[in-house]
């Protein structure tokens, strides 16, 4: 039962990164890919109908995490207090920038929100990556299962009192940024034509190479910082499928970008995102929050909700997710195709 919920929560977070990932990436290339107001409006129009729904996966995923693993939720949210609140502020500012930009047709108003959109999106990608890095590296949990991490301490990933930011977590943050830039520019390339399409492809190509390099570095660094990750794979060798998905995705990103096949390039970057995230959580399992002192680690067993609660949840969660998937399929189908600024609502 604990394992089922571990998979469900991991799945929701993966879906969140897959979906919100491309609109975060679109924000991160917003200022470079789009040169004039018209093109920038196209980018925002491409993600306009879906960004809010994509972000709901974070909220619903967070809610499900709280429900299935209340101890993990309490420890991690209070332990990551400052960065989490900063993430909240960035999410708020970014949401406002998307929604408010179009309300006043004035160049200064638009440039201001363009900059907010760009900064918010890029910083969020880095923060999310760094958060994942912190989980993999381990946090200073005490015997009661609490910790509090400052933003930085001694910048040593092997320290007993690590901070949020150290060379390892920053590297993962940069990898996340590069990945989401590729994912986002693939999406924008898919949704647009003309100059904007061409520029998005070019950005995607450059950052695909950056992603390849960063992936190699990050993988090596990960096994150096947390050698125990490898054990999960050796104990359950079928897990090697997941990194293979990531590698296949990475190969597809390079290949389809060179062929100017936007659809398959986007699917490949999606596969890469899913492959990397699932590999990571597979390596962490059955822990949910590794501690610097391994005895204090939170696992699916000591952090989960009651059996009864999880069983009840299985019923409503399944119904809820089927409905959610139906909505998403319908909405994405309704709004499929290239963005056309003339074809508007009201």
């Amino acid at each position: 039962m604990e394992t089922i919920w571990f998979i469900f929560v991991a799945l929701m977070i993966a879906v969140y990164v897959l979906l919100d990932g491309f609109d975060l990436g679109a924000g991160a290339i917003h200022l470079i890919a789009a040169r004039d107001d018209r093109e920038r409006r196209k980018i925002i129009r491409a993600i306009g109908p879906v960004w809010d729904g994509n972000e709901v996966w974070l909220i619903a995923g967070g809610g499900t995490l709280f429900f299935a693993f209340p101890v993990l939720y309490a420890s991690s949210f209070s332990g990551f207090y400052l960065p989490l609140i900063v993430v909240l502020w960035l999410l708020m500012l970014r949401g406002l920038s998307i929604e408010l930009r179009g309300h006043i047709a004035d160049p200064m108003w638009a440039s201001f929100w363009d900059a907010v959109f760009f900064l918010g999106s890029s910083l969020l990608a880095i923060f999310f990556g760094a958060a994942l890095g912190n989980v993999v590296r381990g946090v200073p949990l005490d015997a009661d299962g609490y910790f509090f991490q400052p933003l930085w301490t001694d910048f040593d990933p092997f320290s007993n009192t690590p901070g949020i930011l150290d060379p390892y977590t920053v590297l993962i943050g940069l990898l996340a940024l590069a990945t989401l830039i590729v994912h986002g520019s693939n999406f924008i390339a898919l949704k647009t034509d003309g100059d904007l399409n061409a520029r998005s492809r070019k950005i995607s190509r450059r950052f695909t190479y950056a992603t390849v390099v960063l992936t190699v570095l990050a993988t090596a660094f990960t096994f150096w910082v947390s050698p125990w990750m490898l054990e999960s794979f050796n104990e359950r060798p079928y897990g090697y499928v997941l990194p293979l998905v990531a590698i296949a995705g990475l190969a597809g990103m390079v290949l389809f970008n060179l062929r100017n096949d936007d659809r398959n390039a986007f699917l490949s970057s999606g596969a890469y995102v899913i492959g990397m995230l699932t590999s990571t959580v597979f390596g962490v399992y059955p822990k949910v929050l590794p501690a610097v002192d391994p005895a204090n680690s939170l696992t699916i067993y000591n952090a989960s909700a009651s059996r009864y609660g999880m069983a009840v949840g299985l019923v409503w969660w399944s119904i809820g997710m089927v409905l959610a998937v139906v909505y998403f399929v319908v909405i994405y189908r309704l709004f499929r195709g290239k963005v056309n600024l003339e074809d508007e609502g009201y």
């Binding site: 729904g53 709901v56 609140i85 910790f147 609660g309």
Partner: protein, 452 residues
């Protein structure tokens, strides 16, 4: 951690109070927009359709503000109230996660469709999505109320040996008696808010001779819905709510009413200032015996005052609780009076020429926001000193390792951020109102986000 407790409480109070200013309007407007759209679908009167579109714009900006300010609340259970999340997570996270699974996905999908889809997918889809937006926002309200009703009146749990609690009966939590009373009362409050805003703006347009056709329509719909909703707040929903308080939180009832000593034939204090030093009400105006009757339907019944309960279980801020409650009830009474007179004038066909009444309706516009907020203050201050009533004290709930300095930092950040957001919201609202329901052509340019 005494300081961190105070600052964390302030931060939650501030962020949740600010947040709820927006949903109380969107939940009310969602119903009203659905009404406008349905009237249009039946009769084909284009005026109703254009009105629905106009209110959809107001709704959209308000909805985004609600979404954006709502996210920090779910996070704060973990960031600031980690000990409480551990204690009660097995129960309150059920309903919070259900809100995500059932309400948020529904809302996000159909709000997008509702705001973008009219031209592309036709009137039937548009009407249907207005219905789904209404259901989604009200479902969201239900799950939040269920969560709050549980901390007001915990049910369906069992104690564990480690001091935490565990879910014992799922349906008991979902069908908590407190939930029904509170949901009925809260959603009524949202409709009152939406109706007063619609009627108030209608009065503004008619008084200023701008968009008068629409102004009259807003007045008609706003007052028709508003008179029903205002009465609903008194009976049955207000009555059920006070029943629940009398039954499950008698000490809060005593504090709300300012009843320091237990009394037979207890009266209701209409006006007066609680004097905590002398345990009495200064300058009271009292309706004799009324409280005994309201609580027990018996003019002679004894009502327990604060002195009947140990002082450690008294709400900590009795004067503020007392004033919140009195502001809520006082405003609610005034709303009923305004709406009944306005409805009478509307029925007799005198309303549009009765400028004094239009002035009253216009100036009344902000007050439902105050009344709803005061109502929530009553519920939340009345729950103190407990976080989960009778089970878990607020002072035990705070995150053990988060320092007061960190919380103060984020509280100041939220304050600055919300100030800017509030100013932006006001600017955008003023523009929409000045722009009016006509002239969609000009806004065709601006349709990038959800809120065009």
């Amino acid at each position: 951690m005494e300081d961190a407790l105070v600052v964390s409480r302030l931060q939650f109070a501030f962020t949740v109070t600010y947040h709820y200013l927006f949903p109380m309007l969107t939940m009310g407007l969602a119903l009203l927009i659905f009404v406008l759209k349905s009237v249009y679908m039946r009769g084909g009167n284009e005026l109703y359709n254009k009105s629905a579109r106009f209110w959809a714009k107001i709704f959209a900006v308000t909805f985004v503000m609600g979404v954006v300010t709502g996210i920090p609340l779910e996070f704060q259970f973990g960031t600031n109230w980690a000990a409480f999340s551990r204690f009660a997570g097995d129960i309150i996270a059920q309903t919070l996660a259900m809100e995500g699974a059932f309400a948020f996905f529904l809302e996000s999908a159909f709000v997008g469709l509702f705001l973008f889809g009219e031209v592309r997918f036709g009137q039937r889809v548009h009407w249907f999505s207005s219905l789904m937006v209404f259901l989604g926002t009200w479902a969201s309200g239900y799950f939040i109320i269920t969560t709050n009703a549980w901390v007001q009146h915990p049910v369906g749990y069992k104690m564990l040996s480690n001091g935490n609690i565990e879910l014992d009966n799922y349906w008991a939590v979902l069908l908590n008696s407190w939930t029904f009373a509170q949901y009925a009362h809260n959603m009524g409050g949202a409709v009152v808010c939406g109706a007063f805003v619609m009627a108030g703006l209608g009065a503004f347009y008619v008084l200023g001779h701008r968009h008068e056709e629409y102004g009259r329509l807003f007045l008609k719909v706003g007052i028709t819905v508003g008179v029903i909703a205002s009465l609903w707040m008194l009976f049955p929903s207000g009555h059920f709510s006070s029943d629940q308080v009398a039954k499950h939180q008698p000490v809060s009832l005593a504090a709300m009413e300012g009843l320091f000593q237990s009394e037979r034939q207890a009266g209701i204090v209409l006006v007066g200032q609680p004097d905590m030093e002398n345990r009495t009400i200064d300058n009271p105006i009292v309706v004799p015996r009324a409280l005994s009757y309201l609580v027990y339907q018996n003019w002679n019944a004894e009502v327990r005052g604060l002195d009947a309960f140990p002082e450690k279980n008294w709400p900590q801020n009795i004067p503020l609780l007392y004033y919140s409650y009195h502001v809520m009830v006082g405003l609610g009474t005034i709303f009923i009076a305004i709406m009944i007179v306005a409805a009478f004038l509307l029925w007799r066909g005198l309303l549009y020429r009765a400028r004094w009444m239009l002035w009253v309706l216009m100036l009344a516009l902000p007050f439902p926001f105050i009344a709803n907020t005061a109502g929530w203050f009553t519920a939340e201050l009345g729950r103190q000193p407990w976080l989960a009533y009778g089970l878990f004290r607020t002072s035990e709930g705070v995150s053990p390792l988060v320092s007061s300095g960190s919380v103060l930092f984020t509280l100041i950040g939220f304050a600055g951020m919300y100030l800017i957001m509030g100013l932006l919201y006001i600017v955008l609202m003023v523009r929409e109102v000045a722009h009016g329901p006509e002239g969609e052509q000009e806004t065709l340019e601006a349709t990038e986000g959800l809120t065009a």
